[in-house]
């Protein structure tokens, strides 16, 4: 029983610490993400994006009457159990105004259904893309800044079809995100008149995909539509294909977009044969440039998947709090819709002082994010803009907008 006593003391000490930590003049926003778990490597970049936005806000005036905006990290581990626990901590212990994140659709689904919708806390996810989230009865408290898979799947299908490719093979990593996009892609591509010669899920994290690729290569596909995370299987699949001459053209979605794809496979090997769509605004766009500069200055790689979305959600949330005029949970949802546009004066990443002034003057603002326009539809979703990335002559990503 001695141990028990010691543990009890430790536990209460922990509880005391958390009570004591409520600093004055600080407005807390929850920052949930799969810091550990299967897509941890993506989440690190996203969380950094969120922090860069918060630094912008705090370094140019802060929120409301000079309060600092504080992100409270909670690990949703890409697991609904962990996400519900994380949500509970953010909502009840940290008493956050609103939550940005979590990263995985499953974690988001669990957290919003079980915690935040009942509590009336607004959630703005940067990378949860499952269509089922749109259908939740959420009292307009669940938003996301990344387009539902439905949009991107269609965008890729159009891209492939317009490139004059009539037959493709499809493979997708068997996880919530990639399975969803693959599903939409297949439907849309067939609707355009294309032929799917083979459609296979693959288990991520295998050492080799040569046998799967060899099977998929049957039936004369002209390209491979590859829906995977670059880390868990995407890079291996491209390597295996190129090394063995199985596929020469790849169309992929944004889970594949990362500099390590070029780093690991080599720019020369990828020139002219890899197209990756991405929900992001034009790199020539002022919004994106502002973000990229700041993100680079913070020591990150702005092209990491969803890093721009991470920035946008944090910035949008700051705008919403400013618009709401107080750290009142119940006002965030409406304020979020107001600051996202489409009406009002355009505000871009980094332009916090301008935005603050406009809001103070009672004018409408319309945030045009680094990752797209961010106008919410009735489900709290964005349609998003899509760009396509190829490896350019200088060996780095070269981006152009779709449509």
């Amino acid at each position: 029983m001695k141990i028990l006593k010691k543990l009890a003391i430790t536990a209460s000490a922990i509880a005391m610490m958390s009570v004591g930590a409520q600093a004055a003049g600080e407005i807390k926003v929850g920052s949930a993400g799969g810091v550990t778990g299967p897509i941890a490597e993506l989440v690190a970049a996203i969380v950094k994006g969120r922090q860069v936005a918060v630094d912008h806000v705090n370094s140019s005036g802060g929120l409301l009457g000079g309060d600092t905006m504080k992100l409270v990290i909670a690990d949703s581990a890409c697991d609904p159990k962990a996400a519900v626990d994380a949500g509970n901590k953010l909502v009840n212990v940290e008493q956050v105004v609103a939550i940005i994140g979590p990263s995985c659709s499953g974690a988001t689904n669990g957290m919003v259904s079980s915690v935040t919708i009942p509590a009336g806390v607004t959630v703005l996810s940067d990378s949860a893309t499952a269509p089922s989230i749109s259908e939740l009865k959420d009292n307009d408290t669940v938003f996301r800044a990344s387009a539902s898979d439905a949009y991107q799947g269609k965008a890729i299908a159009d891209l492939v079809w317009k490139a004059g490719i009539k037959k493709v093979a499809v493979t997708y990593s068997n996880d919530d995100y990639n399975a969803g996009i693959a599903n939409v892609f297949t439907t849309e591509y067939k609707a355009l008149g294309g032929e799917i010669t083979g459609n296979q899920a693959h288990e991520p994290n295998k050492a080799s995909y040569r046998s799967e690729l060899s099977t998929l290569n049957q039936g004369g596909p002209e390209a491979l539509a590859l829906f995977a995370y670059y880390g868990s299987s995407g890079i291996t699949i491209i390597k295996n294909s190129l090394e063995n001459g199985l596929f020469g053209k790849f169309y992929a979605a944004d889970g594949m977009f990362d500099n390590s794809v070029i780093g690991q496979i080599g720019a020369d090997n990828l020139k002219g044969n890899l197209w990756i769509t991405q929900a992001a605004s034009d790199t020539e766009d002022a919004s994106y440039k502002a973000f990229a500069e700041a993100y680079k200055a913070a020591g990150g790689d702005p092209e990491a998947p969803y890093a721009a979305h991470g920035y946008d959600v944090a910035f949008l949330m700051a705008l919403a709090i400013e618009k709401a005029g107080s750290a009142d949970r119940s006002k965030i949802s409406a304020a979020l819709r107001a600051v996202a546009g489409p009406e009002g004066e355009v505000v871009r990443p980094g332009e916090w002082e301008k935005a603050k002034k406009l809001i103070a003057e009672g004018k409408d603002v319309n945030y045009e994010g680094a990752a797209g326009i961010n106008d919410f539809d009735k489900n709290g979703d964005v349609t998003g803009l899509f760009s396509v990335n190829i490896v350019g002559d200088d060996g780095t990503w070269s981006r152009s907008m779709l449509k």
Binding site: M17, D75, A86, S113, N174, A179
Partner: protein
Amino acid sequence: MDAFYGYMLYGISLATMGGIYAVLTLGLNVQWGFTGLFNAGIAGFFGIGAYTTAILTTAPTHRHLGGYEMPYVVGFLAAMLLCGIIAYLVGKVCLRLRSDYLAIATIGIAEIFRLILKNETWATNGPRGVSEIPKPFEHWPEPWNQFAFLALVLVIVAIVYVLVEVARKSPWGRVMTAIRENEPSAKAAGKNVEVFRMEGFVIGCMIMALAGALMAHYLKFVDPNATDPLLATFLVWVMLIVGGSANNKGAILGAFLMWVVWSATEIVTSRLPDELAIRAAYIRIFLIGLMLQIFLQKFPQGILPEKRPTVPKSNRNSETV
């Protein structure tokens, strides 16, 4: 929002999760504590329970099999029944094996279940999971619905505890202990060891399925990631070892305690600067592992040791001589 009210709600969620884990840990205790069966595939049975009730109780949908809108009770019972049948089949295959073979076999089976959940999209909606699972009392006003759900969980913990405790003290339980301590002599005493081990295994798995079902309703969502071995298998083992295996009170205590430790440590680590807070997530896992090691070495009996006349644990020397 009032701070005190917030802590109370968090307390409720801690207790609810702790309670669900307590059911899981009691299930494991029947297998490991009583019978000496090393089940390392807890996540698999947990997942079967969660998905069964999810499919039966959700509203009709095109995404996955079912949507039968059955009452919760049906969901719970079906989860336990189905899991019992599967456990029986698994047991037929695996129970002849010694402890660590059983561990490897069950972990393999849990992985196969996970692959099935991911690949049989027509039934489970694959990796996208089953959403909008109804939650008992969810239409009651806040915070009463949370209290009510907690009460439901605690009542179930109490029922499972009483049943398991009665079983432990019954002749059946005593035979179980005898088998665990000294299988040859139990055999010699004319006990059909196979049958007893099977009973322990199946009952344990059914309890785990019940916990899975509770979890599915609590989360209102379940996907294959929810059967990740870290939180669904490993943590349960730590709970049982820390609490005290073969002691049902210990199992419950361990579950609540470790869940509080697991959950509440993050409140501390999230105070760290961002970069560190992210890395601290790993340190949290490290510390839980370390805590387990300390208990294994210094307090192998756990916080509440087994309550029986002290018989020295049979060690390997006497097994082989």
